[in-house]
Symmetry: C2
Subunit: 226 residues, 2 copies
DNA sequence: GAAAGAATGTTCAATTTTGTACAATCTGGA
DNA sequence: TCCAGATTGTACAAAATTGAACATTCTTTC
């Protein structure tokens, strides 16, 4: 719901051809989860690939006090857990269902079999992974280098770019704030400044970018360093 | 030189079998660069994969004032530019040679040919990409959630872990500071605190972790949230 | 359509981080 | 060996960020 990593990224399933998408869909077993139910534990060792069929999942970490600090959220067609297979890494995040959610759980063996048969699977995984890395790098750059106002504008614009013309985001400010790594107070202040510049409009649970072109020019002028 | 993203990551070439490594090595043309020479420009559109043969490259962005802000650095066997092929993304960083460096530049066509013939290439790329994503996520988590002292300890420990027992890092504090996204002043303060706890020792251009076990316990106790 | 619950807009003091400065220390080359 | 340049350690004022608080606005549900 809040991390540029996940939202608006072309999903794994989107990148597959129809027949292969079908094969992947039937390679695992679809499991249904209730809102808030735990899907995977941080530290879980069992390898396997999970694909969101319907609903959404939240990726994050449970704090000692039980609060859930979200890192990103994944929608239909997106995968998680692939690094347990291909990079031999443990799971580092807790995954919970956001709303009623169906997950296609594919075992390591079954997925490996498909992976070997259908080259487009590896290509799709590679693409999504590279896009994610790319976004994270851009994001970290922004976090390190830009002041709040610019950082906010840049992240919004990045999301806009990949969203394909959609000008409205359904984010709560507290969520966006954490995604940006700042307090809600700071984000609110930054949004106010961008509002005064006419670059964004804010509403209850949503943020709009009325003139993407103007936003683009502003970001190019204030956020690049060449 | 400073980013957990790059250092200590199993390199792409390491993950290939001998014969395939040979094929990859001879698929492009090796170009030699002098120290500091520009290899790729941010914004460059021409797709292609580059592999470090010898030496090292610095990934970063040139500021308006000519200063170079580094993001990571890549050593022999590591690749860059693969996302121009597989994710259709523009280059977002400037790449320069660190010392005399040889780069194997492989054109998009040649690499695609090899990619189609040898499945292990896609797997190796996938692995390195997933490991990078994973590290970046851990890093961002630390940046967002932990106070300076803990953040520093955690990053140092992460590096230690993957460095394979090496207890000394050849980092200048100003470099490490940027990698962590803070000022040198803050890093210096954090290092002082860790020094007082006996967890690290600092020298001219280097940082040591004398007792990795103690560091591990401390990090586990102070930096995890479960 | 009224009430309860959520989310936003804003303020302000407390805290953290930065920028700047400068002395002290280290390294490598003359 | 000595010097120039680079790096570290540290102090302090300035600036940015946070956390808490509270009024306001919006949504949803009864």
């Amino acid at each position: 719901m809040l991390d540029p990593l996940a939202r608006n990224t072309p999903s794994f399933m989107d990148l597959l051809s129809d027949p292969v998408r079908g094969q992947v869909a039937s390679a695992g077993s679809v499991i249904r989860y209730q809102d808030g139910q735990l899907i995977h534990n941080r530290g879980d060792q069992k390898p396997g690939v999970s694909i969101v069929v319907s609903g959404a999942v939240q990726v994050g970490i449970f704090g000692a006090d039980g609060t859930f600090i979200m890192t990103s959220n994944l929608g239909p067609g997106q995968t998680f857990g692939e690094f347990t297979l291909f990079a031999n890494l443990p799971r580092t995040h807790d995954i919970t269902a956001a709303g009623e959610t169906e997950i296609n759980q594919i075992t390591a063996g079954a997925f490996e079999r498909l992976y070997a048969e259908q080259p487009e699977i590896s290509r799709a995984l590679l693409t999504t992974s590279l896009v994610r890395t790319h976004r994270l790098l851009e994001m970290m750059d922004a976090m390190r280098r830009l002041p709040m106002r610019e950082r906010t504008a840049k992240v919004l614009f990045t999301m806009l770019q990949t969203a394909g013309g959609d000008q409205t985001f359904e984010y709560r400010q507290s969520e966006l704030a954490f995604a940006l790594g700042v307090s809600r107070t700071s984000l609110s202040t930054a949004l106010k400044q961008l509002r005064e510049l006419g670059l964004v409009e804010t509403g209850y649970g949503q943020i709009r970018v009325p003139e993407p072109d103007r936003m683009q020019r502003w970001v190019a002028e204030h956020c690049s360093e060449t």
